[in-house]
Amino acid sequence: MLYNVHFGIYVDVAMPVEDKSKPLLPFLSSPKLLPDESEAEFQSGLQSLLSELDNPSPLAVALVSQLNECLWWIRRHTADKELLLHEAMARLLSKAGNHWDTYDNHKVSEALERYLNGSADNDEAIWIDEILAESKLTLPDLRVRAFKEAAKYIKMVDDLIHRQHQTIRHLQRSIDSIGYKSRLIKRMDLELAALESKQSVKGALTLDDKSS
Protein backbone atom coordinates (compact mmCIF):
# COMPACT_ATOMS: atom_id res chain seq x y z
CA MET A 1 0.00 0.00 0.00
CA LEU A 2 1.28 3.47 -0.88
CA TYR A 3 0.06 6.78 0.44
CA ASN A 4 -1.02 9.07 -2.37
CA VAL A 5 -0.07 12.57 -1.26
CA HIS A 6 -2.21 14.23 -3.91
CA PHE A 7 -5.50 12.75 -2.79
CA GLY A 8 -4.68 11.76 0.77
CA ILE A 9 -5.67 8.13 0.15
CA TYR A 10 -3.89 4.80 0.27
CA VAL A 11 -3.40 3.17 -3.12
CA ASP A 12 -2.72 -0.52 -3.56
CA VAL A 13 0.09 -0.50 -6.14
CA ALA A 14 -0.17 -4.26 -6.63
CA MET A 15 -3.76 -3.80 -7.85
CA PRO A 16 -3.94 -4.26 -11.63
CA VAL A 17 -4.59 -0.79 -13.05
CA GLU A 18 -4.87 -0.09 -16.74
CA ASP A 19 -1.81 2.00 -17.72
CA LYS A 20 -3.32 4.89 -19.66
CA SER A 21 0.00 6.65 -20.14
CA LYS A 22 1.25 3.93 -22.50
CA PRO A 23 0.52 5.74 -25.76
CA LEU A 24 2.55 8.74 -24.55
CA LEU A 25 6.01 9.53 -25.87
CA PRO A 26 8.79 8.62 -23.43
CA PHE A 27 10.26 12.16 -23.24
CA LEU A 28 6.94 13.41 -21.86
CA SER A 29 6.16 10.60 -19.45
CA SER A 30 9.49 9.53 -17.91
CA PRO A 31 9.84 11.37 -14.58
CA LYS A 32 13.01 13.02 -13.32
CA LEU A 33 13.19 11.97 -9.71
CA LEU A 34 15.62 12.64 -6.89
CA PRO A 35 17.62 9.67 -5.55
CA ASP A 36 15.41 9.23 -2.46
CA GLU A 37 12.10 9.43 -4.33
CA SER A 38 9.96 6.48 -5.36
CA GLU A 39 9.02 6.06 -9.01
CA ALA A 40 6.20 3.68 -8.04
CA GLU A 41 4.64 6.46 -5.95
CA PHE A 42 5.02 8.95 -8.80
CA GLN A 43 3.42 6.55 -11.28
CA SER A 44 0.59 5.68 -8.91
CA GLY A 45 -0.20 9.41 -8.63
CA LEU A 46 -0.24 9.69 -12.41
CA GLN A 47 -2.45 6.62 -12.83
CA SER A 48 -4.93 7.87 -10.24
CA LEU A 49 -5.19 11.19 -12.09
CA LEU A 50 -5.61 9.43 -15.44
CA SER A 51 -8.29 7.16 -14.02
CA GLU A 52 -10.47 10.28 -13.70
CA LEU A 53 -10.54 10.62 -17.50
CA ASP A 54 -12.53 8.34 -19.80
CA ASN A 55 -10.40 7.17 -22.69
CA PRO A 56 -7.90 10.09 -22.57
CA SER A 57 -6.25 11.24 -25.79
CA PRO A 58 -2.42 11.37 -26.04
CA LEU A 59 -2.47 15.17 -25.57
CA ALA A 60 -4.66 14.84 -22.47
CA VAL A 61 -2.25 12.22 -21.10
CA ALA A 62 0.68 14.57 -21.81
CA LEU A 63 -1.03 17.42 -19.94
CA VAL A 64 -2.06 15.21 -17.02
CA SER A 65 1.53 14.01 -16.83
CA GLN A 66 2.70 17.65 -16.51
CA LEU A 67 0.03 18.23 -13.86
CA ASN A 68 1.28 15.24 -11.88
CA GLU A 69 4.80 16.66 -12.08
CA CYS A 70 3.53 19.98 -10.64
CA LEU A 71 1.96 18.13 -7.72
CA TRP A 72 5.29 16.38 -7.21
CA TRP A 73 7.09 19.74 -7.18
CA ILE A 74 4.63 21.07 -4.57
CA ARG A 75 5.50 18.09 -2.42
CA ARG A 76 9.26 18.73 -2.83
CA HIS A 77 8.94 22.44 -2.06
CA THR A 78 6.77 21.75 0.99
CA ALA A 79 9.47 19.43 2.34
CA ASP A 80 12.03 22.17 1.60
CA LYS A 81 10.24 24.60 3.92
CA GLU A 82 10.96 22.30 6.86
CA LEU A 83 14.53 21.75 5.65
CA LEU A 84 15.06 25.52 5.47
CA LEU A 85 14.03 25.78 9.10
CA HIS A 86 16.44 23.00 10.05
CA GLU A 87 19.22 24.74 8.14
CA ALA A 88 18.59 28.02 9.97
CA MET A 89 18.32 26.21 13.32
CA ALA A 90 21.72 24.58 12.75
CA ARG A 91 23.21 27.95 11.77
CA LEU A 92 21.86 29.63 14.90
CA LEU A 93 22.94 26.76 17.10
CA SER A 94 26.49 26.73 15.79
CA LYS A 95 26.75 30.45 16.52
CA ALA A 96 24.90 30.41 19.83
CA GLY A 97 27.06 28.37 22.24
CA ASN A 98 29.82 29.78 24.42
CA HIS A 99 32.47 28.13 22.25
CA TRP A 100 30.75 28.72 18.94
CA ASP A 101 34.06 29.14 17.07
CA THR A 102 34.93 25.48 17.76
CA TYR A 103 31.62 24.06 16.49
CA ASP A 104 31.67 22.90 12.91
CA ASN A 105 28.46 24.07 11.21
CA HIS A 106 28.30 20.89 9.13
CA LYS A 107 28.60 18.65 12.21
CA VAL A 108 25.95 20.62 14.10
CA SER A 109 23.68 20.50 11.06
CA GLU A 110 23.91 16.71 10.70
CA ALA A 111 23.56 16.08 14.44
CA LEU A 112 20.56 18.41 14.70
CA GLU A 113 18.87 16.72 11.70
CA ARG A 114 19.18 13.34 13.43
CA TYR A 115 18.10 14.89 16.76
CA LEU A 116 14.93 16.27 15.15
CA ASN A 117 14.22 12.98 13.36
CA GLY A 118 14.63 11.11 16.62
CA SER A 119 17.48 9.03 15.17
CA ALA A 120 20.36 10.70 17.05
CA ASP A 121 22.50 8.50 19.28
CA ASN A 122 22.95 9.25 22.98
CA ASP A 123 26.16 11.29 22.57
CA GLU A 124 24.69 13.47 19.81
CA ALA A 125 21.50 14.08 21.78
CA ILE A 126 23.53 15.10 24.84
CA TRP A 127 25.73 17.36 22.69
CA ILE A 128 22.73 19.16 21.13
CA ASP A 129 21.09 19.49 24.58
CA GLU A 130 24.33 20.98 25.89
CA ILE A 131 24.55 23.56 23.12
CA LEU A 132 20.89 24.44 23.66
CA ALA A 133 21.52 24.85 27.40
CA GLU A 134 24.67 26.93 26.81
CA SER A 135 22.76 29.23 24.51
CA LYS A 136 19.83 29.35 26.97
CA LEU A 137 17.39 28.25 24.29
CA THR A 138 14.65 25.62 24.13
CA LEU A 139 13.89 23.80 20.90
CA PRO A 140 10.66 25.81 20.28
CA ASP A 141 12.58 29.09 20.88
CA LEU A 142 15.22 28.02 18.41
CA ARG A 143 12.54 27.15 15.87
CA VAL A 144 10.93 30.58 16.23
CA ARG A 145 14.28 32.33 15.76
CA ALA A 146 15.09 30.09 12.81
CA PHE A 147 11.77 30.99 11.20
CA LYS A 148 12.70 34.68 11.41
CA GLU A 149 16.14 33.97 10.00
CA ALA A 150 14.86 31.84 7.12
CA ALA A 151 11.77 33.99 6.38
CA LYS A 152 13.21 35.30 3.11
CA TYR A 153 13.81 31.81 1.72
CA ILE A 154 10.52 30.44 3.05
CA LYS A 155 8.77 33.24 1.14
CA MET A 156 10.64 32.17 -2.01
CA VAL A 157 9.50 28.57 -1.55
CA ASP A 158 5.94 29.81 -1.02
CA ASP A 159 6.22 31.68 -4.33
CA LEU A 160 7.40 28.48 -6.01
CA ILE A 161 4.45 26.54 -4.59
CA HIS A 162 2.06 29.28 -5.68
CA ARG A 163 3.52 29.12 -9.20
CA GLN A 164 2.87 25.37 -9.33
CA HIS A 165 -0.75 25.98 -8.28
CA GLN A 166 -1.16 28.53 -11.07
CA THR A 167 0.38 26.08 -13.55
CA ILE A 168 -2.04 23.37 -12.41
CA ARG A 169 -4.96 25.76 -13.07
CA HIS A 170 -3.69 26.38 -16.61
CA LEU A 171 -3.30 22.66 -17.21
CA GLN A 172 -6.78 21.89 -15.84
CA ARG A 173 -8.34 24.45 -18.19
CA SER A 174 -6.40 22.99 -21.12
CA ILE A 175 -7.47 19.42 -20.25
CA ASP A 176 -11.10 20.61 -19.93
CA SER A 177 -10.88 22.30 -23.31
CA ILE A 178 -9.56 19.09 -24.94
CA GLY A 179 -12.38 17.10 -23.29
CA TYR A 180 -14.92 19.64 -24.50
CA LYS A 181 -13.41 19.59 -27.97
CA SER A 182 -13.54 15.80 -28.25
CA ARG A 183 -17.13 15.77 -26.94
CA LEU A 184 -18.02 18.44 -29.50
CA ILE A 185 -16.38 16.45 -32.30
CA LYS A 186 -18.27 13.30 -31.22
CA ARG A 187 -21.55 15.23 -31.14
CA MET A 188 -20.91 16.71 -34.57
CA ASP A 189 -20.04 13.24 -35.89
CA LEU A 190 -23.32 11.90 -34.54
CA GLU A 191 -25.29 14.82 -35.99
CA LEU A 192 -23.54 14.35 -39.33
CA ALA A 193 -24.29 10.63 -39.29
CA ALA A 194 -27.93 11.40 -38.46
CA LEU A 195 -28.12 13.93 -41.31
CA GLU A 196 -26.52 11.45 -43.72
CA SER A 197 -28.93 8.71 -42.74
CA LYS A 198 -31.84 11.15 -43.10
CA GLN A 199 -30.51 12.13 -46.51
CA SER A 200 -30.19 8.52 -47.61
CA VAL A 201 -33.75 7.76 -46.41
CA LYS A 202 -35.01 10.83 -48.31
CA GLY A 203 -33.09 9.71 -51.41
CA ALA A 204 -34.55 6.22 -51.14
CA LEU A 205 -38.05 7.69 -50.78
CA THR A 206 -37.67 9.92 -53.87
CA LEU A 207 -36.35 6.94 -55.81
CA ASP A 208 -39.39 4.95 -54.65
CA ASP A 209 -41.73 7.81 -55.75
CA LYS A 210 -40.11 7.97 -59.20
CA SER A 211 -40.26 4.23 -59.68
CA SER A 212 -43.94 4.04 -58.64
Binding site: L25, L28, E87, R91, N105, Y153, R163
Partner: protein, 174 residues
Protein backbone atom coordinates in the same frame (compact mmCIF):
# COMPACT_ATOMS: atom_id res chain seq x y z
CA UNK B 1 20.49 64.66 -5.56
CA UNK B 2 22.99 66.85 -7.43
CA UNK B 3 25.94 65.35 -9.21
CA UNK B 4 29.31 66.64 -8.19
CA UNK B 5 31.07 67.68 -11.48
CA UNK B 6 34.47 66.64 -10.12
CA UNK B 7 33.16 63.22 -9.14
CA UNK B 8 31.44 62.85 -12.49
CA UNK B 9 34.71 63.68 -14.28
CA UNK B 10 36.61 61.21 -12.09
CA UNK B 11 34.01 58.50 -12.83
CA UNK B 12 34.35 59.11 -16.56
CA UNK B 13 38.13 58.96 -16.49
CA UNK B 14 38.05 55.79 -14.36
CA UNK B 15 35.57 54.21 -16.78
CA UNK B 16 38.05 54.73 -19.61
CA UNK B 17 40.49 52.52 -17.74
CA UNK B 18 37.96 49.66 -17.61
CA UNK B 19 38.74 47.75 -20.76
CA UNK B 20 37.09 44.43 -19.91
CA UNK B 21 38.67 41.07 -20.64
CA UNK B 22 41.78 41.16 -22.88
CA UNK B 23 42.87 37.57 -23.36
CA UNK B 24 40.95 35.15 -25.59
CA UNK B 25 40.23 32.92 -22.59
CA UNK B 26 38.92 35.91 -20.61
CA UNK B 27 36.67 37.00 -23.46
CA UNK B 28 35.39 33.45 -23.87
CA UNK B 29 34.66 33.20 -20.15
CA UNK B 30 32.92 36.58 -19.94
CA UNK B 31 30.80 35.79 -23.02
CA UNK B 32 29.12 33.09 -20.91
CA UNK B 33 28.51 35.38 -17.92
CA UNK B 34 24.75 35.61 -18.25
CA UNK B 35 24.27 32.07 -19.51
CA UNK B 36 23.17 29.76 -16.72
CA UNK B 37 20.07 27.89 -17.84
CA UNK B 38 19.91 28.77 -21.57
CA UNK B 39 16.20 29.63 -21.40
CA UNK B 40 16.66 33.00 -23.07
CA UNK B 41 17.88 31.43 -26.31
CA UNK B 42 15.38 30.64 -29.07
CA UNK B 43 15.38 26.89 -29.71
CA UNK B 44 14.60 25.22 -33.03
CA UNK B 45 11.97 22.64 -32.09
CA UNK B 46 10.66 22.12 -35.63
CA UNK B 47 13.70 20.13 -36.73
CA UNK B 48 13.66 17.77 -33.74
CA UNK B 49 12.37 14.18 -33.82
CA UNK B 50 10.25 14.82 -30.71
CA UNK B 51 8.43 17.64 -32.48
CA UNK B 52 7.45 15.43 -35.47
CA UNK B 53 6.36 12.61 -33.15
CA UNK B 54 4.23 15.03 -31.11
CA UNK B 55 2.61 16.61 -34.17
CA UNK B 56 1.74 13.12 -35.48
CA UNK B 57 0.05 12.31 -32.16
CA UNK B 58 -1.86 15.59 -31.84
CA UNK B 59 -3.06 15.73 -35.43
CA UNK B 60 -5.27 12.70 -34.77
CA UNK B 61 -7.23 14.72 -32.19
CA UNK B 62 -8.85 17.02 -34.71
CA UNK B 63 -6.65 20.09 -34.30
CA UNK B 64 -5.73 22.18 -37.32
CA UNK B 65 -2.19 21.86 -38.75
CA UNK B 66 -1.30 25.30 -37.39
CA UNK B 67 -2.65 24.45 -33.92
CA UNK B 68 -0.79 21.11 -33.92
CA UNK B 69 2.51 22.86 -34.65
CA UNK B 70 1.82 25.48 -31.99
CA UNK B 71 0.85 22.93 -29.33
CA UNK B 72 3.85 20.69 -30.08
CA UNK B 73 6.38 23.53 -29.87
CA UNK B 74 4.69 24.98 -26.73
CA UNK B 75 4.76 21.60 -25.03
CA UNK B 76 8.43 21.09 -25.91
CA UNK B 77 9.19 24.62 -24.70
CA UNK B 78 7.40 23.93 -21.40
CA UNK B 79 9.39 20.69 -21.02
CA UNK B 80 12.60 22.62 -21.66
CA UNK B 81 11.73 25.05 -18.85
CA UNK B 82 10.86 22.25 -16.45
CA UNK B 83 14.05 20.37 -17.29
CA UNK B 84 16.06 23.53 -16.53
CA UNK B 85 14.03 23.91 -13.32
CA UNK B 86 14.98 20.37 -12.30
CA UNK B 87 18.63 20.98 -13.29
CA UNK B 88 18.81 24.17 -11.23
CA UNK B 89 17.12 22.52 -8.26
CA UNK B 90 19.42 19.50 -8.25
CA UNK B 91 22.70 21.36 -8.79
CA UNK B 92 22.70 24.68 -6.95
CA UNK B 93 25.86 26.68 -6.35
CA UNK B 94 27.93 24.54 -3.92
CA UNK B 95 28.55 25.72 -0.37
CA UNK B 96 32.18 26.59 0.37
CA UNK B 97 32.18 24.98 3.79
CA UNK B 98 35.78 25.86 4.56
CA UNK B 99 35.21 29.56 3.97
CA UNK B 100 31.81 29.54 5.69
CA UNK B 101 32.97 27.78 8.85
CA UNK B 102 36.48 29.21 9.09
CA UNK B 103 37.24 31.37 12.09
CA UNK B 104 39.47 34.08 10.72
CA UNK B 105 41.21 34.94 13.99
CA UNK B 106 41.32 31.69 15.94
CA UNK B 107 41.27 28.78 13.50
CA UNK B 108 43.42 30.08 10.69
CA UNK B 109 47.06 29.77 11.80
CA UNK B 110 48.29 32.27 9.23
CA UNK B 111 46.04 35.02 10.51
CA UNK B 112 46.69 34.02 14.13
CA UNK B 113 50.36 34.63 13.58
CA UNK B 114 49.97 37.75 11.47
CA UNK B 115 47.27 39.52 13.43
CA UNK B 116 48.33 40.62 16.87
CA UNK B 117 45.65 41.30 19.51
CA UNK B 118 46.99 44.79 20.09
CA UNK B 119 45.85 45.83 16.60
CA UNK B 120 49.28 46.97 15.51
CA UNK B 121 49.41 44.72 12.45
CA UNK B 122 50.46 46.16 9.12
CA UNK B 123 47.83 47.70 6.88
CA UNK B 124 48.02 45.08 4.12
CA UNK B 125 47.42 42.24 6.58
CA UNK B 126 44.42 44.13 7.95
CA UNK B 127 43.08 44.53 4.44
CA UNK B 128 43.61 40.85 3.70
CA UNK B 129 41.70 39.86 6.83
CA UNK B 130 38.90 42.29 5.92
CA UNK B 131 38.76 40.84 2.40
CA UNK B 132 38.40 37.26 3.68
CA UNK B 133 35.84 38.38 6.25
CA UNK B 134 33.75 40.02 3.54
CA UNK B 135 33.98 36.84 1.40
CA UNK B 136 32.88 34.83 4.40
CA UNK B 137 29.94 37.16 5.02
CA UNK B 138 28.86 36.78 1.40
CA UNK B 139 29.15 33.00 1.62
CA UNK B 140 27.13 32.88 4.84
CA UNK B 141 24.48 35.22 3.44
CA UNK B 142 23.75 32.72 0.65
CA UNK B 143 22.79 30.11 3.26
CA UNK B 144 22.98 26.34 3.02
CA UNK B 145 22.20 24.06 0.07
CA UNK B 146 18.40 24.25 0.54
CA UNK B 147 18.44 28.07 0.67
CA UNK B 148 20.62 28.18 -2.44
CA UNK B 149 18.48 25.83 -4.48
CA UNK B 150 15.33 27.71 -3.42
CA UNK B 151 16.87 31.04 -4.45
CA UNK B 152 18.18 29.65 -7.77
CA UNK B 153 14.89 27.94 -8.67
CA UNK B 154 12.98 31.08 -7.72
CA UNK B 155 14.70 32.89 -10.62
CA UNK B 156 13.03 30.51 -13.11
CA UNK B 157 9.46 31.34 -12.04
CA UNK B 158 8.93 33.80 -14.90
CA UNK B 159 10.02 31.22 -17.48
CA UNK B 160 7.56 28.67 -16.12
CA UNK B 161 4.82 31.33 -16.11
CA UNK B 162 5.35 32.26 -19.74
CA UNK B 163 5.87 28.61 -20.78
CA UNK B 164 2.58 27.40 -19.32
CA UNK B 165 0.66 30.47 -20.55
CA UNK B 166 1.91 29.77 -24.09
CA UNK B 167 0.95 26.09 -23.85
CA UNK B 168 -2.47 26.89 -22.46
CA UNK B 169 -3.13 29.43 -25.23
CA UNK B 170 -2.03 26.96 -27.89
CA UNK B 171 -4.33 24.19 -26.63
CA UNK B 172 -7.36 26.45 -26.21
CA UNK B 173 -7.04 28.51 -29.38
CA UNK B 174 -9.21 26.32 -31.64
Amino acid sequence: MTINPRRSLANQSNALKSTGPRSAAGKRASSQNSRKHGLNSAPDFESSIEYRALVDLIVEEGFSTFACADIASSLLNYRRVMDAYYGTYTSPEPVDEFLRDANMRASNPIFSELLSPSGSEPQDVKEMAAFFASMQRQERRKGGPVSRRSADTHKLIRYQRSGIARLSRAVRQD
